[in-house]
Amino acid sequence: MATLQDIKRRIRSVGNTRKITKAMELVAAARLRRAEERIVQLRDYADRMQELTAGTARAASSLRGLTLLQEREPRRVAIVALTGDRGLAGAFNGQILRRAFALERSLRSEGREVRWLVVGRKGRSTLRFRRYEVEQAWTGFTDRPGYRDAQAVAHRLAELYGEDEIDRAVLVYNHYVSPLVQRVTEQQVLPISEEVLGREEDEEEHERALMGDFIYEPEPEQILERLLPVYLETEVYRALLESAASEHGARMTAMRNASKNAVELIDSLTLDLNRARQAEITQEILEVVAGADALTQ
């Protein structure tokens, strides 16, 4: 049986671990709140961008010649896994990668080629460990992604698409529902679906567009050519922000459970400690009594 010293040492060590997990929980909660705010801020920009894109597309005489809209036979598909830079976030990273590998299997069984791109150290190291060839990896910003980071990813995807290196791009990431609920999602970002352009708009919208009669500088087609890559950037940025919020949410939950476990462990160790101490006292009393008995005889 463990001695009193051993048990005391363990209680202290578990107590220290609890302090760390508690601190991580609080940090994750604060970052989660900030990430949520940034999702709200982006919505403002994204909605207006969407409106502008739809309006410009209506004014354009033809949408042909816009590479990012061209639907091709998807022979080569890029999977972009958005993971985190750090662990200790429960099943967060594992879930994304499991989904990405499942997607890869189903694509391969359809005879398609798969290209890997990855965001986050965790995803990169797993793919490298499994000896996958990674087209490109971005790391170092997953807990606080900036728009610039999204631009880098979007630019690379558009480049690969423009060079016919890939025929489709799919993001695999955690869609943020609430601090406790995240859903792993697959989202096709390239080619950009024509629905985005809102061509099948309702009548009221159409009337307003006609009434507006905008001057376009340069031609709508040229503006659209610049708008589409920005739309892609916005989609990637939104996914990165949701992934960051999910990561903080997952870490918060994981650390809360760890703290709770630590408290339970301390309780049960304290019980052991008391039992051991009482056993020791009983033992000592027995010894004294036995010694006294021996003297009287």
Partner: protein, 141 residues
């Protein structure tokens, strides 16, 4: 008599940089600066990186200047909207920091060119352009 005002929003993916009523707005259009007053005709235009100036009151020279990245510009019915990827208030541009960012990015780009780093070249070029833009705008302010 005060001049007629119209509403302006300068919005980036990371939040609005400016929102309010102004007398005049000057934005860096792809083919040269575009100045907008109230009752401007509806317009959609491309913006390049440069300086965006917001004249809240022209008689008292109450002007805000922003170093803005590339984006889009739209005017409709006394409402102007500039959507840019980045906007920094010229008063908040830190000379030292912008210069340091510029030098860091250039050094990193050189390492990429020598094959010693696998950082994203395009992203570095963007960072350089951004820092240069901030410095240019401040230099003129």
């Amino acid at each position: 008599m005060a001049e007629r005002t119209f509403s302006v929003s300068l919005v980036t993916p990371e939040g609005a940089a400016f929102e309010g009523e102004v007398e005049m707005l000057v934005v860096p259009g792809a083919d040269g600066e575009i100045g907008v007053l109230a009752r401007h005709a509806p317009l959609v235009a491309l913006l390049k990186a440069g300086s965006t100036r917001v004249y809240k009151d022209r008689s008292t020279e109450d002007v805000l200047e922003f170093a803005t990245g590339p984006g889009f510009f739209k005017v409709e019915q006394d409402r102007a909207l500039a959507l840019v990827d980045d906007a920094v208030d010229a008063r908040h541009v830190d000379d030292e920091r912008a210069r340091k960012q510029l030098e860091d990015a250039q050094a990193e780009l050189e390492r990429v060119e020598r094959g010693e780093s696998d950082a994203d070249r395009w992203q570095l070029e963007q960072r350089i352009r951004h820092a240069e833009n901030q410095l240019t705008v401040v230099g003129r302010a």
